[in-house]
C-alpha cells in the first residue's frame, strides 16, 4: 500500500518490488543497454562472416557492390538518421509532457521507418528481377542490363563501358587483353587457397584480365547482403511495431504524467537499429 501511495504522490506507477521510480527507471535502462549489447553480438556473427569472406575474397565484394544503388542507400541512411532525430525528440517531448509533440514525433518516426522499408523493397525488387539473390537462388540475368542498367548498376560503372560487366559466357569469347582496367578493382590477388571452402576457383576470375568479370562465388556477396539487410529489416519492422504501441500508449494518456521510460527504451533500440544501418551502408554499398 505504501508503495502505491508513494507512486501516486510522484504521479508515476512503481511496481511493487521497487523502492522508488528512479530505481525502476534505472533498472529498465540498464536492462535495455544489456539487451542492445546482445543485439550487437547477434549482428556480430554476420559481421564476422562478412569480414572472413571479404578478407579471403575481396574480388567478390568489389564485384557485388556495383549492383547496389548508392543513391538509394544514401537516401535510406538520411531517412533513418532523421528518424533517430525524431525519436530523440519524442523522448524530450515525453519528458516535458508535451503530449501533442510526442505524438507528432512518434508518427514522424513511424513514417520514416515505413519510408525506409519502401525504399528497401524497391531495392529488393530490383535484385529479385535480375536474379541477384542469395547463393541458393542466385541466377543473374545480366544480358538485359542494357535496358535496366540504371536500376541495378552503380552509375559510374554504367557510364564507363558496356563491356565492363560481362557474363561468364561472354568472357569465353572475349579476348583476355581488353584494355581499361577498372580503378575500383582490388589490386589484392584472390586468395590462392585457405578457408575458402572446397569450391573450385574459376580460372577466369583468378586471371587479371582487367575486366569486371564475375568472380567465382560472387553469390556469397548477395547471401551476406540479404542476410544483413534482411535481419536489419526485421529489426526495423519490430521498431515500427514498438512505435505504434507507443502511439497507442500516448493516445491512452500513459505519458500525461511525465512518465517517459517506455519512450526512452524504444528510442534507444531505434538508435541502435539506425547505427547498424550506417555500418551496413558503409560495408555493403560504399566499399
Amino acid at each position: 500500500m505504501a508503495d502505491q501511495a508513494h507512486a501516486q504522490r510522484d504521479g508515476l506507477a512503481v511496481d511493487h518490488h521497487f523502492e522508488n521510480a528512479d530505481q525502476q527507471y534505472q533498472s529498465a535502462k540498464l536492462g535495455m543497454w544489456v539487451f542492445l549489447g546482445t543485439e550487437i553480438l547477434f549482428f556480430g556473427g554476420l559481421f564476422v562472416a562478412y569480414s572472413v569472406y571479404r578478407a579471403n575474397h575481396p574480388e567478390i565484394f568489389i564485384f557485388g557492390h556495383h549492383f547496389l544503388d548508392k543513391n538509394l542507400g544514401a537516401l535510406n541512411t538520411v531517412i533513418l538518421i532523421c528518424s533517430s532525430l525524431t525519436a530523440a525528440w519524442a523522448v524530450r517531448a515525453a519528458q516535458l509532457r508535451q503530449i501533442g509533440m510526442l505524438k507528432l514525433m512518434i508518427l514522424l518516426t513511424i513514417l520514416c521507418a515505413l519510408g525506409f522499408m519502401g525504399v528497401k523493397s524497391v531495392e529488393y525488387n530490383g535484385k529479385w528481377k535480375h536474379g541477384l539473390l542469395w547463393a541458393g537462388q542466385y541466377d543473374p540475368h545480366l544480358e538485359d542490363h542494357g535496358e535496366t542498367s540504371h536500376d541495378i548498376i552503380g552509375e559510374e560503372i554504367a557510364a564507363e563501358a558496356d563491356a565492363e560487366i560481362v557474363t561468364e559466357e561472354m568472357v569465353v569469347e572475349a579476348s583476355p587483353a581488353l584494355p581499361a582496367a577498372d580503378p575500383d578493382r582490388s589490386t589484392i590477388a584472390p586468395a590462392a587457397e585457405g578457408p575458402a571452402g572446397l569450391a573450385v576457383e574459376d580460372p577466369a576470375a583468378a586471371e587479371d584480365t582487367g575486366v569486371e568479370v564475375e568472380p567465382a562465388n560472387a553469390q556469397t556477396y548477395f547471401s551476406i547482403y540479404f542476410l544483413l539487410t534482411g535481419l536489419h529489416g526485421i529489426h526495423v519492422l519490430g521498431g515500427i511495431g514498438a512505435f505504434i504501441w507507443l502511439l497507442l500508449c500516448a493516445r491512452r494518456g500513459d505519458f500525461d504524467s511525465g512518465h517517459f521510460t517506455r519512450v526512452d527504451m524504444v528510442a534507444l533500440y531505434w538508435h541502435l537499429v539506425d547505427l547498424i544501418w550506417i555500418y551496413l551502408f558503409l560495408l555493403l554499398y560504399l566499399i
Binding site: 518490488h17 533498472s27 540498464l30 544489456v34 554476420l46 571452402g197 567465382a216 553469390q219 556469397t220 542476410l227
Partner: protein
C-alpha cells in the same frame, strides 16, 4: 518497460504479517501459476520443467547404454542409435543443463539473497519461462517429426544435408537461447540495482557472484549461437551458402561460430555449480569462506577466459599450428581460476566442523569428480595428447565428469540445500544419503571406464565396437543403471517429503545469507521487513535453537534495514 500496474502479481497486496500465507498457497489454480510474476513460482515451474527434461534426456542415455551392451545391434538400428545420442545431447544441453541452475535455483534464491521482493524485471522473467516452454515444445516436436542424427553440435555440412528434423531442433534451440539471454539479463539488472542496504559488491554471497558471472556469459555468448543457428536454418531452407563449400561457403566457419558460443556455454553450466559450492562448503564446514575475494574474482576470470578458448575444439579441423598453440595455452589458463576456487574450498573445510548432511555429500562428490574432470581437461587441451584422444570416449568421459560430476552433482546439492526453503518440508536424510552414494558409485562406474576405453582408442558416437571393449562397455552400462536407481530413489523421497516430510524451520542448516531469514516456504512478498545485509558467511551470528530444530540469529535486528519500522 515494466511499469504497468494491472498485471497479476500486483493486484493483491498481501498482509505481510500473516504467517500461514506463503507463495505456494497464495493464489490457487493452474493459471495463478502459469501467469505468475513471482520469481519463486517461476523458479518452481522451471524446476518441474527442467527435471522433466532431465528425465527425458536420461531415458535416451539409458537406451544408448543398453544398445552398447554388445557390439553390433543389441536393441536398435544404427540410424536410431544416431538419433538417440543426438537427442540425449541436445535435450540435456539445451533443455536441462544450460537453464538448469540459474533458471531454477537462481530464480528462486537470487532475490531472496538480496532481500528483495522479486527480480528487477518480473514480466521478462515470465516471458523467459514461456520462451523456454515454446522452445522445448519445438524441440520435442522435432523428435516426433523425425528427430536429429547430427550430434548435438549440428556440424555442417552434414547438418545442412541430412533429411532429419534439424530445422525444427535448431529453431527450438534458437528460442531456448533467448530464454537464456533474458534470464541472464534479468539477473544482471537485479544484482546491479536491487542489492539491499549493507550489501556492497564484495559483501554479496558468492552464489550471486557465480550467477552474475554466468549471466555475463549468457548475454554475451548466446546471441552468437542465435545467429549461428539462424544461419543454419537459412542454409537449409534458403541455401544462403555461408557454410556450404559448393556455394562458396566455409563449413569450418560454422565450427568457429558454434564454439564461440558453446565453449562459454560450458561455463554457463559450471559457474552456477561453483556458485552453489561456495555456499555449501562454508555452511556445512561451519566456517567463514576462505579467500572470498579470490573466489569472487575467479568467477569473473573464468567468465572472461571462457571467450578465448573456443579454438581448442578445432585442433584437428585444420587450424594453423600457431592458432592451435595459442588456444592450447589459453585453455590451460582456465585451470588457474578453477584451481583457485577448489583450493579455497579445501581451505574452508580445513579444521572446520564438517557435517555430512546430504548437501555436503554432494559438495564432496563435486570436489572429487570435478577435480578429475578438470585435470583430464588438460590432457585434451595439450596438442599432442589431444590428437590421440580427440573424438574418443576420453572426451565423453571428461565432459561428463565436468558436466555431470560437476554441474549436476552441485545442482543436486543445491536442491537438497534449498529444498526445505522452497517447499517448507524436510526430506529423509537417510534415503538422501543412500541415493547420493548410489549416484556417486554409479557415476564413476559409468564414466571412469570410458576414460580407459577412450585412451585405448574407442571412438565416441560409434554404434559398433571391437570385441575387446565389451567389458568396459558393459561395466559402463551397469553403472548407468545404478545411477538411474539413485535418481529414482531421490525422486521417491523428495516427492514423499512434500506430503509426509517434517515441517522445515526457517533456517535448518545455519546459513547466514538472507534467504534463511524468512519463513520456509517464504511469504509471497518474501520478507516481513526491509532487510539489511551483513557478512554472508558470518556463521557465528547464528545459534542452534533445539525447540524449533533450526538456527536463529543471535541479534535479529542486525539484518533489518536501518529505517525499518518507519518505512513502508
Amino acid at each position: 518497460m515494466a511499469e504497468a500496474t494491472s498485471a497479476p502479481g500486483n493486484d493483491a497486496i498481501v498482509d505481510r504479517t500473516a504467517s500461514d500465507d506463503n507463495y505456494l498457497t497464495h493464489g490457487k489454480g493452474i493459471l495463478s501459476w502459469l501467469f505468475t510474476l513471482d520469481h519463486k513460482r517461476i523458479g518452481v515451474m522451471y524446476l518441474v520443467a527442467i527435471l522433466s527434461s532431465f528425465f527425458l534426456g536420461g531415458v535416451f542415455a539409458l537406451v544408448l547404454r543398453a544398445e552398447l551392451w554388445t557390439p553390433g545391434q543389441t536393441i536398435m538400428t544404427a540410424d536410431t542409435y544416431n538419433k538417440m545420442f543426438t537427442l540425449h545431447g541436445a535435450v540435456m544441453i539445451f533443455l536441462f543443463i544450460i537453464p538448469g541452475i540459474p533458471a531454477t535455483l537462481g530464480n528462486f534464491v537470487l532475490p531472496l539473497m538480496l532481500g528483495a521482493k522479486d527480480v528487477a524485471l518480473p514480466r521478462l522473467n515470465l516471458a523467459s519461462f514461456w520462451l523456454w516452454l515454446t522452445g522445448a515444445m519445438v524441440a520435442v516436436a522435432s523428435i516426433v517429426i523425425g528427430a536429429v542424427d547430427t550430434g548435438w553440435t549440428f556440424y555442417t555440412p552434414y547438418s545442412t544435408t541430412t533429411t532429419t528434423a534439424v530445422t525444427a531442433m535448431t529453431l527450438g534451440a534458437f528460442i531456448l537461447g533467448f530464454s537464456s539471454i533474458f534470464t541472464g539479463l534479468n539477473f544482471i539488472v537485479t544484482i546491479h540495482k536491487m542489492r539491499p542496504e549493507g550489501m556492497t559488491w564484495f559483501r554479496m554471497p558468492l552464489f550471486l557472484w557465480g550467477i552474475y558471472s554466468t549471466a555475463i556469459i549468457q548475454v554475451l555468448a548466446t546471441p552468437v549461437l542465435g545467429i549461428t543457428l539462424l544461419l543454419l536454418v537459412a542454409e537449409r531452407t534458403l541455401g544462403v551458402g555461408i557454410f556450404d563449400p559448393a556455394l562458396g561457403g566455409d563449413p569450418v566457419l560454422y565450427q568457429h561460430f558454434f564454439w564461440f558460443y558453446s565453449h562459454p556455454a560450458v561455463y554457463i553450466m559450471i559457474l552456477p555449480a561453483m556458485a552453489i559450492m561456495s555456499e555449501l562448503i562454508s555452511v556445512f564446514s561451519g566456517k567463514h569462506i576462505f579467500g572470498y575475494k579470490f573466489i569472487a574474482w575467479s568467477s569473473i576470470a573464468i567468465a572472461l577466459l571462457s571467450f578465448l578458448v573456443w579454438g581448442h575444439h578445432m585442433f584437428t579441423s585444420g587450424q594453423s599450428g600457431l592458432m592451435n598453440m595459442i588456444f592450447s595455452a589459453l585453455t590451460f589458463s582456465v585451470a588457474i581460476p578453477s584451481a583457485v576456487k577448489v583450493f579455497n574450498w579445501l581451505a574452508t573445510m580445513y579444521k572446520g566442523s564438517i557435517r555430512l548432511a546430504a548437501p555436503m555429500l554432494y559438495a564432496l562428490s563435486f570436489l572429487f569428480l570435478f577435480a578429475i574432470g578438470g585435470l583430464t581437461g588438460l590432457f585434451l587441451g595439450s596438442l599432442s595428447t589431444d590428437i590421440h584422444l580427440h573424438d574418443t570416449y576420453f572426451v565423453v568421459a571428461h565432459f561428463h565428469y565436468v558436466m555431470f560430476g560437476g554441474t549436476v552433482i552441485a545442482f543436486l546439492g543445491g536442491i537438497h540445500y534449498w529444498w526445505p526453503k522452497m517447499f517448507g518440508r524436510m526430506y529423509s536424510e537417510r534415503w538422501a544419503q543412500l541415493s547420493a552414494f548410489l549416484i556417486f558409485v554409479g557415476f564413476n562406474l559409468t564414466f571412469f571406464t570410458q576414460f580407459v576405453m577412450g585412451s585405448h582408442g574407442m571412438p565416441r558416437r560409434y554404434y559398433n565396437y571391437l570385441e575387446r571393449f565389451t567389458a568396459y562397455h558393459q561395466a559402463s552400462t551397469v553403472g548407468s543403471f545404478v545411477l538411474a536407481l539413485g535418481f529414482f530413489i531421490m525422486a521417491g523421497y523428495l516427492l514423499h517429503s512434500l506430503v509426509g516430510g517434517e515441517k522445515a524451520p526457517a533456517n535448518p542448516w545455519g546459513g547466514a545469507t538472507l534467504e534463511w531469514e524468512t519463513t520456509s516456504p517464504p511469504a509471497y512478498y518474501n520478507f516481513k521487513h526491509e532487510m539489511r545485509a551483513g557478512d554472508p558467511y558470518d556463521l557465528d551470528a547464528l545459534r542452534w535453537d533445539p525447540s524449533i530444530k533450526g538456527y536463529v540469529r543471535k541479534d535479529p535486528a542486525s539484518v533489518l534495514a536501518s529505517g525499518e519500522g518507519a518505512a513502508s
